[in-house]
Structures are given as structure tokens and as C-alpha cells.
């Protein structure tokens, strides 16, 4: 089973969300990057973009497929990982660390409570993950 850090929350689309004060850092899970294979391109929104929970905010492309990235929470993008366009392989190498994608300032707390816990996400993966 893939690495699923206990201190993060998760979506059914395999994004992770990390609470950092009043902000939420977002990336894709180790399971997601394993399923995608070598990531060759990441398209992220600009700082200031409004994102909506469960709606696409960007695109990740691997040698096998192109997938939308789904926002775990609604809010405004306040930071974007500028390294990823030039080093997309970081997503494979360090999905929970240097492979982070965006930081969102959530517009409400409600979305956060809808996210899966590490345990729920692990259960979800055991059931097939989709």
C-alpha cells in the first residue's frame, strides 16, 4: 500500500490537502503518481485564481494519461509551485513534499470537513480507489 501520511486529508480524486494555519496546501497522493506513471507536464492556475471544491483547477499529464486536478476546498489560490512546469518529475519523486501544487486560502471551513481522513482514504484505496 502506498504511503498515506496521517496528518493530511484526501479527496476521492487522489489529491491531498494539508492545513497550514488558515491556508490549505494541495498536491496529489503517492498512489495517484504511481498510477499515472512518469509525470511530464503539470498545468497550474495563476495566483489569485478562484477554485471550487470538487472542480478541476489544473491538469497533470503523464506518459500514459492526462488527468484533471480537483480542488479539495473552495477559495483563492495564494501560492503556486513554480518549479513544477520545469521539473514535473518532482511529482513522482516527492508527491507530499516538493511535489506540492497550490496553496489555497479557503472561503469557508465546510469543505474541509467533507474531505477523507487518512484512514478513510486507505479504506477507499482498498476498495479499488474509484
Amino acid at each position: 500500500m502506498s504511503n498515506i501520511p496521517k496528518d493530511l486529508k484526501y479527496t476521492r480524486e487522489h489529491e491531498w490537502a494539508k492545513a497550514e494555519g488558515d491556508r490549505v496546501r494541495v498536491g496529489i497522493t503517492a498512489y495517484a503518481q504511481e498510477q499515472l506513471g512518469d509525470v511530464v507536464f503539470v498545468e497550474l492556475p495563476k495566483v489569485g485564481t478562484k477554485v471550487t471544491a470538487k472542480k478541476p483547477f489544473g491538469v497533470v499529464e503523464s506518459v500514459k494519461a492526462v488527468s484533471d486536478l480537483f480542488a479539495p476546498v473552495s477559495g483563492e489560490v495564494v501560492e503556486v509551485n513554480g518549479e513544477l512546469p520545469n521539473k514535473p518529475e518532482t511529482v513522482n519523486q516527492d508527491p507530499y513534499g516538493k511535489g506540492w501544487m497550490i496553496v489555497v486560502k479557503p472561503s469557508s471551513k465546510a469543505d474541509w470537513d467533507q474531505l477523507l481522513t487518512a484512514q478513510q482514504y486507505e479504506e477507499f484505496l482498498k476498495q479499488g480507489g474509484h
Binding site: F41, E43, V59, E61, V66, D68
Partner: protein, 449 residues
């Protein structure tokens, strides 16, 4: 009656009618009101023998006035440039003779290689980083550029110079209707885009400013100044250019264009009464993932040998579905091949010569024709191989008169621009001789007298 073109026999028809319970074909049609039905046989003549048919078709074709039967001064987007004879011989080879990019592309290394060479030549000519494998024609290239600018900038307005070919502008309008992209016209009252006016139209909502050079009226635009206006507003500059001119004129990419599109028919593709044509499309490298169309890339195989692939296909519809950059999944491979052979045949020197000769002859013609009494150049702006003449008589009538004397005199502008109802657009390529131009001037003199 037995028909050559209806596959089923009388016996089969009877069986089919039996299954659905109709007694005859007539009974099957009884529900159609009598007045809506033709009560007599179609008036089609009896079948001709092959030799008779060929004679008949040749007689029909001979009634056309084309660039072989007449001396052609028509342009407006399709030009009578020389088509070197190797082109027809080479494209007729079975390995090449298809209109499409192959469905199993990597198995067709030869085709991919010609497309790769085409892309390389177009990128070099336009001064851009990357060119696609071509799309349908200049008009669809321009429309795709408008959609791409919208996708890149996430803005919903495109400012089009009125110097852009009006037929192409109409195609852009059709493409932009669905996604709701608003088009705004920047005027060109003196034959070139009024850049001061364009500046007031280009703003925070503008995805792209589009100029054509030489423009529809033949005049050269100030591309660098247009680039400054577009970029100051965070918009892209789309330049429409005829690649056959780019042996002489600077590649628009070097003047600040973000996307260069154009009609590539001049590169060895016959005019063929308006098509098939060649849609040229080139862009800056950082925009490549938003570029429409197919793209061939060079790579190495597992043994290190050079090979060619279709690359960045994740932009395309067969992978990306609704989110594809465009619904273009093909290219005009055969016309792109013509252009590739054309450029390879002419070489650097030849292409420069084509541009120099066309421009020099156009300027000689302009000088000669504007000496005709009552005839004058409509605009003062510098032009390249095409120019707008003001005539003292209705251009449509002049064109009809001159056609009878063996000249395709040009394109009357009334249908494109009511303000130019007295104007004729004249194109001169390297094919025109001094004798033809002098003869044309003499014929025009009589026609407007």
C-alpha cells in the same frame, strides 16, 4: 429498369417490399402528396461512352477562364505563383498520395519525415519556434489562432484589423460564435491598420490583436508597433502572413508575433479554383501546449537511430476529448508535402528570387497602370506584390471586358468593402512578364476610356 447505381436487383426489391407488406415501390410512396412528387422522369441525358464523356467534360472545362487560359492578375488570398514540375511527380508516388496524416503514424516514417521538414521550414520562415503539421487553410488557421489566444489568456475579445482578408474574418466570426468570443474591428481607412484606433480597442479583455501583412489591400503593416500595443495590454499578437513572401520580408516572429498563421497556397500548391489550400500555423514554444493540430517530433529509437513520432498528442481530441485544444485531428498532408518539395526545390536563393521578382514586377505594374488616365493607386502605403487601384469605370464591368481579351484583371473590392466600390485589387507574381504587364496596361486603357 436496371440501374447501374442501385445495388439491389428487382427480385431483391420485391422480397424487401414483401417483408414490409407493400405491393410495389409505388405503393410504398403513396403517402407522399402527389404535388410533392415529380410526375416525369428526371431530365438526364442518356449515358455517354467514355470518349464522348471526356469530350463533353473538356468542352465544359474550356468555358472556364483560368490561369492557364488567361493572364492572371487575381490574388486576394490565392496566387498564381510558379509550381515547379517535380512537385506533381513526387506527390503522385503511392507512398505519399494521401490527404491525411496516417492512422498508424509511426509506421509511416517517410510521411512523418516530410511533415517534420515542412514544420522546420515553416518555423524558420515565420521566425517562430514551432509549427504544426498544417491545418485546412489560411482561414481556419486564423480562426484557430483566435481560439488559442482565448485559451492562453483566458480573455474573451479579439481585435481584428480590417486589413485582414474579409473572407477569413468571416470564418473567424463563425468559429468564435460558439465559445462566445467577441470580435472587434480595428479600421484601416488608409490601407493600413489605424494603430491609434487599435490601441483604444486593445485592453484588459483582449486575448489577441490580429494584423495581416501584407494585408488584404496589399499594404505592409507595422508589425512591431502592433506587437507593442498587444503586449502592453497582456494580449497576444497574431500575424497573418503569406509564407511565400518571407524569403524577402522579415519573419513576423522576429517582429514580436506570438502566433503566425497564413494561407500557404503560394508554396507550390495550385490555385485549383480555391482549394484544397494549406493552413500554416506557427507559435512560440511556450504556447505549444495550447496549439491546435498535429505535431511531428524527432526522436531516437532504442538503438539510437533517428526517427519521427506524432508528439504532444495529449492536446488532441482523441486523447483529451472535450478538453482538447481544438477539434482538428488531421492536417492537409498532401498540400504540406507540396510546400515542402517547393521550398526544397527552390532553396533559399530561389525563394528570395520569387519574392524579389514578384515585388519588382508588382511595382512596375503599379507604375505602368497608374499612368492610365483616370486610374490611380488607392492607398499611399508601401505594398509588396499586390495593390489596390481606383478605376474611373465600375471595376466589375472592366473585369468582364478584360476577360474577353485574355486577362483575369483582378478582384473588384465592392463585395468586400462598399467604400471601395470603385477599386480593383491586383496581384502580380514572378510569373508575369513585362510584355504581359504592358499588354494589360494597354487593354485597361481601352477598357476605361
Amino acid at each position: 429498369m436496371a440501374s447501374r447505381y442501385i445495388a439491389n436487383t428487382a427480385a431483391e426489391q420485391k422480397r424487401m417490399l414483401g417483408v414490409i407488406g407493400a405491393g410495389s415501390l409505388e405503393e410504398l410512396l403513396v403517402k407522399i402528396p402527389a404535388k410533392a412528387r415529380l410526375s416525369r422522369p428526371l431530365s438526364i441525358r442518356a449515358a455517354l461512352a467514355e470518349t464522348d464523356l471526356i469530350r463533353h467534360m473538356k468542352a465544359l472545362a474550356a468555358r472556364n477562364a483560368d490561369a492557364d487560359s488567361h493572364v492572371c492578375f487575381m490574388g486576394a488570398g490565392s496566387y498564381d505563383h510558379y509550381v515547379p514540375s517535380p512537385i506533381n511527380h513526387l506527390i503522385s508516388r503511392g507512398e505519399f498520395f494521401t490527404a491525411y496524416t496516417p492512422y498508424q503514424p509511426e509506421a509511416s516514417q517517410g510521411t512523418l519525415r516530410t511533415i517534420y521538414e515542412y514544420q522546420t521550414m515553416i518555423a524558420e520562415l515565420t521566425g517562430m519556434d514551432v509549427a504544426n503539421a498544417s491545418i485546412y487553410d489560411g482561414a481556419s488557421s486564423l480562426a484557430e489562432a483566435a481560439l488559442m489566444a482565448h485559451a492562453v489568456t483566458d480573455r474573451r475579445e479579439v481585435v481584428l484589423s480590417r486589413g485582414v482578408n474579409p473572407l477569413h474574418r468571416r470564418v473567424v466570426a463563425t468559429y468564435c460564435e460558439g465559445p462566445g468570443i467577441k470580435l472587434r474591428d480595428a479600421g484601416a481607412p488608409d490601407g493600413v491598420t489605424d494603430l491609434e484606433a487599435a490601441k483604444t480597442l486593445v485592453g484588459a479583455k483582449t486575448a489577441a490583436l490580429v494584423v495581416q501583412t501584407p494585408n488584404f489591400y496589399g499594404c505592409l503593416e507595422d508589425v512591431s508597433a502592433a506587437a507593442e500595443i498587444a503586449h502592453a495590454a497582456g494580449a497576444l499578437l497574431v500575424v497573418v502572413a503569406d509564407p511565400v513572401n518571407l524569403g524577402v520580408l522579415e519573419g513576423p516572429g522576429k517582429l514580436g508575433a506570438d502566433i503566425v498563421v497564413g494561407e500557404g497556397q503560394g508554396l507550390g500548391v495550385p490555385m485549383s479554383f480555391g482549394g484544397p489550400n494549406l493552413g500554416v500555423f506557427a507559435a512560440k514554444k511556450e504556447l505549444v501546449r495550447r496549439m491546435p493540430g498535429r505535431l511531428v517530433g524527432a526522436t531516437v529509437d532504442k538503438d539510437g537511430a533517428r526517427g519521427f513520432v506524432l508528439t504532444l498528442q495529449t492536446r488532441e481530441q482523441h486523447i483529451r476529448r472535450a478538453k482538447a485544444t481544438s477539434n482538428i485531428c488531421t492536417n492537409v498532408a498532401l498540400c504540406a508535402l507540396m510546400a515542402t518539395i517547393y521550398l526544397a526545390t527552390l532553396g533559399r536563393h530561389g525563394l528570395v528570387k520569387v519574392g524579389e521578382l514578384s515585388a519588382a514586377k508588382a511595382h512596375y505594374a503599379a507604375e505602368r497602370l497608374s499612368k492610365v488616365s483616370g486610374v490611380a493607386l488607392r492607398f499611399g502605403a508601401p505594398f509588396f506584390k499586390e495593390f489596390t487601384l481606383k478605376l474611373p469605370k465600375p471595376p466589375e464591368r472592366v473585369v468582364t471586358k478584360l476577360a474577353k481579351q485574355g486577362f483575369l484583371a483582378g478582384v473588384p473590392l465592392k463585395t468586400f468593402d462598399r467604400g471601395l466600390a470603385d477599386c480593383l485589387l491586383i496581384a502580380v507574381t514572378e510569373k508575369r512578364t513585362k510584355a504581359e504587364i504592358d499588354g494589360f496596361a494597354a487593354a485597361l486603357e481601352k477598357a476605361v476610356a
